[in-house]
Every structure is written in C-alpha cells, then in structure tokens.
Symmetry: C2
Subunit: 139 residues, 2 copies
Amino acid sequence: MDSIVQILKQNNLSVTEGRRKILSLFLNSNGALAHADIEKNTHSHFDRVTVYRTLQSFVDKGIIHTIPTSDNSIKYALCKDECGEGHHHDHHVHLVCTRCGNTFCLDNVVTPTVKLPRDYTIQQVEVVVKGICKACNNQ
Amino acid sequence: MDSIVQILKQNNLSVTEGRRKILSLFLNSNGALAHADIEKNTHSHFDRVTVYRTLQSFVDKGIIHTIPTSDNSIKYALCKDECGEGHHHDHHVHLVCTRCGNTFCLDNVVTPTVKLPRDYTIQQVEVVVKGICKACNNQ
DNA sequence: AAATATTTGCAACAATGTTTCTTTTTTTAT
DNA sequence: ATAAAAAAAGAAACATTGTTGCAAATATTT
C-alpha cells in the first residue's frame, strides 16, 4: 500500500483525493509550505476551504506542524515520528533562507536550552534562524 | 522635551498625533502589541491605514521590531538601543504567555547560540518561548 | 450494494493588509 | 509669524487570508 494512504489511515483520516495530493506535496518538498504554495501547486484544483481544513486536520493529527513567521503567512512542515495527535515535539530549528525564501526544518540541529528566571515556566521553545540555506550557499 | 517627541525627532519622523499616541502605547506597555491592540487602545481614532503605516515606519526606523507568531497576527515590540534604521539586533528571547496571551521581550535572557552545519549561514536567531509569564505565575 | 459517516464545494462573511489619490497637517524657509 | 514645500492622514476601493453553515458528493462501513 502506498505510503501516503498508509499515513492517512494510520491517523484515522479517510483517504480523499485532496488529502492524498496535499500530503504528497509535503512528502516531496524538503521545505515548508504555506497555504498559497499549495494552492499554486494544485492549480487551485481544490477549494480554498478544503485546503484550510486539510491543513488543520493534518496539524491536529500531528502529521504537520506550523512554523512561526513574521510575515503573516503560516508555514507548515512535516512532523517527525515523535509527533502525534495533540502533542507536537518540534525540538528542532527552523531556517528561513533569505536568498531563496524557503523555510526548512533542520531536524538534526537540536533546540538549545533556554534558561529563564525562576518565575517563568517554559512549555515550548521555537527557534527560527534567518540565514542562507545549504543549496543557496553552494551555488 | 517630551521623550516621545525626542524619539520621533531622533528618527527623522515628523511629530504627528498618531505617531505620538502609538509610540506612547508601546512605551507604556510591557508586552508586545498587535495592530488590533492599537486599534482597540485608540478607539479607532486613527484610520486603519494610518496605523499600518505608522507601525511600518517605526519598524523601518528600528524603533519597534516584529515578533514571529504561528497565528497570523504580527506582534510588535520596542527595540532596545542597539537597533537602528536598517538593522535590528533582537538577540533576546520572546515569551508568549499561554495563560494571559501577552507576548514579552525578555531583554535579560540572552539568545542561546545555535550551531548549524558548515554549509549554512546564520544571519539572525529568533527564539519564541511558549510558557507562563511572571505575573501569571505569581497569582 | 445500500446505509451511514465523512468530506467537499459553494456562498456568504469577517478580518487583515495594500494602493491610489485628495485633503490636512507638519516642517522648513522666509 | 507666515507662506511655501514636504510629509502624513484619511477615504475609497481593492486584494488576500481565513471562517462558518449548509447542501451535494464521496468514502467507509455493514
């Protein structure tokens, strides 16, 4: 069985054309995708609402996660295995390439420990690095 | 001379009612503000466009900086002295309180060093911590 | 293959952000 | 202090992004 179908079934999502297509976009992209990227890649074959709902359900199931940005466009990227429904473990660093504009999850870079004063409680740490990605640096 | 007027003049911005008011909101708020917060605090006394333009000019001049979020609402906070026109040095950590919803710049917490593989270049590191702020923890 | 459950697409709406142009306000120079 | 020049504000129109309710279509279960 197709690994795309497998992922959907494992997460109790019915297998529909839209979900298959959108999930495959994530699997075949090494960078993060925004709603607009998906619209573009599918040539708006799916209703905008469907795309929003699909992304939301993928987030809910822990298949993808959101990446914070400063430019009012939520980006989404595949989660690694440790993520599941209701709990995300995104202990990796995100890189926004200022040359090509793509966003990547640096899965091998561990989020550094942040130490806050005693009267704060840490729940989650997000690190977004702006810089130049591998591909852009090597060209 | 009023410190608000002083800041505006130092940055070659003409002193208008809107800019004075919006800058004072930042000076009197310990957390970050979003466009909507400013609208609320000014009772929409200024045109929406004016607020957008004012925020943009403050960012351009290095008076405030944006904070990345995952929820499509750009937050702005005052910059410390090291920031100037064209270059921001936001080497501090941002805390989003999951209880009160406010966002704070933790100016005394130093951004941890992130080490990337050799073929990446780091330009800026943003750290956003989700957790509980001081005030919420002490109540 | 039929019944049930789920998802999709559509329409309408709400919020957020941008652009152009005219009027008003601020600054500069006299 | 005032007139000229420069800058900013406001208004209108538009673009983009995201949400909700509902009927039609598709997927799953039996």
